[in-house]
Amino acid sequence: MAQQLQIDEGDAQEEMYARNWTDGLPVVPPTPSRVDAMLAGAGLAATEALGEIKERSRVLTAEKAAINAVMAGCRPEYFPVVVAALRALLTPAFNAHTALTSTGGAASCLVVSGPYAEEIGMRSRLNVLGPGNRANMTIGRAARLVAANVFGARTGEMDGSSIGHPGKLSMCLAEYDPPAPWEPLRVELGFDRSETTVTILAAEGPRQVANHLNPDPAGVLLTFAAAMRNPATYCVGKGAQGLVILGYEHSLILREAGWSKQQIREFLMEHSRISADELEQWGILKEKGSQHDLGETYDGKLPAIATIDDLFVVTAGGAGAGWSAYIPTWAPTKHNRGVTVAVELPNGSAPVVDDAKIAAVVAALAPGLRSDGADLTAKVTGRRSVEFTLVIPSQGCADCVMPARMLQPIFAREVEQILGSGWSLTINDPRDDASHPLNAGQKR
């Protein structure tokens, strides 16, 4: 069990800062009861090992992860996402030992794809990479605090970032599921649509991509390609990974023109290549005889992205004048690759949709019933299932209110609009219960 310390509540922030526990911002004191609640949020025992960095001979336990998640400001329902992020961080392909240490100053960028992101209130639209959403900010911060406090990734110890960037405090976004036929990231990576996944990338800072006037899809993508082949980016010409975040207008232009996500990737792969001469024109010398010497290539140009599978494309962000973002990874793929892990929710855990949203569904549906003298109640009965009950006080009402089978698609539409996708619903109709007083003497 973790060491317990007694500190004066009034001096708690100063004490925790002095102990080098923080990222420079205030943290929530990790009391035993808060840590227990965090562990319960993911249904984990304190001693469960989440992974290790072999090169540092250090294992991460669920308890240490929970302590740092409390300090970051997470709510317990965020913890399954934090745990998935940490399992991804500690997968050998991510090479955390180096990613957390390098002078390149990578952040651990987390992309959360799936219905649980919406369920816990993560932001996928306006200001998706900015501040203001507790889930986005604290989940990313928790992963970073674990890296610092458990694995020593902090200045003066094992973090050798020369410059670093603000994303090292927290860099976490939710994907906004694109309309068909585009698939969300988790489905493209082979997961089920109903799952929620966390993809971790060792990332440089985001480049905002602006193209406000060009309605041509190729024109929009050429702007991305320009950001991707910027000679000042370390991995340009060496072959790394990258995350394209298509904002509202740009994704709309591409979808309406019939582009698939695979076509977008192919276009960007091709147009982000750059010649050694052009790199040199901007002062960058090609590596020769070193670990990044790519030798001859088929077109005499060098890649920004290693392979087409190394380019991730997601939709997120709010409507605006035509903004998107590109996030390059910090190192060529021989050193590090993004990793995706499914979020595991504890068995039988309660849904985290709040009462206000359920009330909003009822408020949207009930007026039509009330006009017929009936009413409606609703309660959540499972992780993503909601049960409605028609309240029909008299036989007179019973003849006016539509039967449940006809109400089903109307209810489903409101549920999807207010609660999000993936919900199942049932409608209890007293007219279907032969023993109900309403049906006394009735033949149905």
Binding site: A2, Q3, Q4, L5, Q6, I7, D8, E9, G10, A12, M16, W21, P29, P30, T31, P32, V35, E52, K54, E55, S57, R58, V59, T61, E63, K64, I67, N68, M71, N95, T98, S102, T103, L145, N149, V150, F151, G152, G160, E287, G289, S290, Q291, H292, A331, K334, H335, N336
Partner: protein
């Protein structure tokens, strides 16, 4: 008012015990074998070769073996390679960073 908190810091539980390799013995007048492990960074090989040659001027180093890490700077050499060098080298020079 006093509040009880739990430490977020690492407190032990090494994934595997780490032990030092046995050192190769040598006697007075023996010729030494020097292994250089370079990490693939630009000019790392040239720099470490220079260091090895300077060592050779001061110690009875008969042979210098230059080894380039296959995984580049981002990954350590594997355990079998480390054991092999520990068995045949008297001296090893490596380096980290850029």
């Amino acid at each position: 008012m006093v509040v009880e908190v739990l430490s977020p810091l690492y407190e032990g539980g090494a994934s595997e015990a780490v032990t030092m390799a046995p050192r190769r013995t040598y006697g007075k007048g023996d010729a030494l074998h020097l292994v250089v492990i370079e990490n693939g960074k630009p000019k790392a090989k040239q720099f470490l070769q220079f260091v090895a040659e300077e060592v050779q001027k001061r110690l009875p180093v008969a042979t210098i073996e230059m080894f380039s890490k296959p995984g580049g700077a981002g990954r350590p050499i594997d355990a079998d390679t480390a054991k092999m060098f520990a068995a045949r080298a008297h001296l090893i020079i490596s380096g980290i960073g850029d």
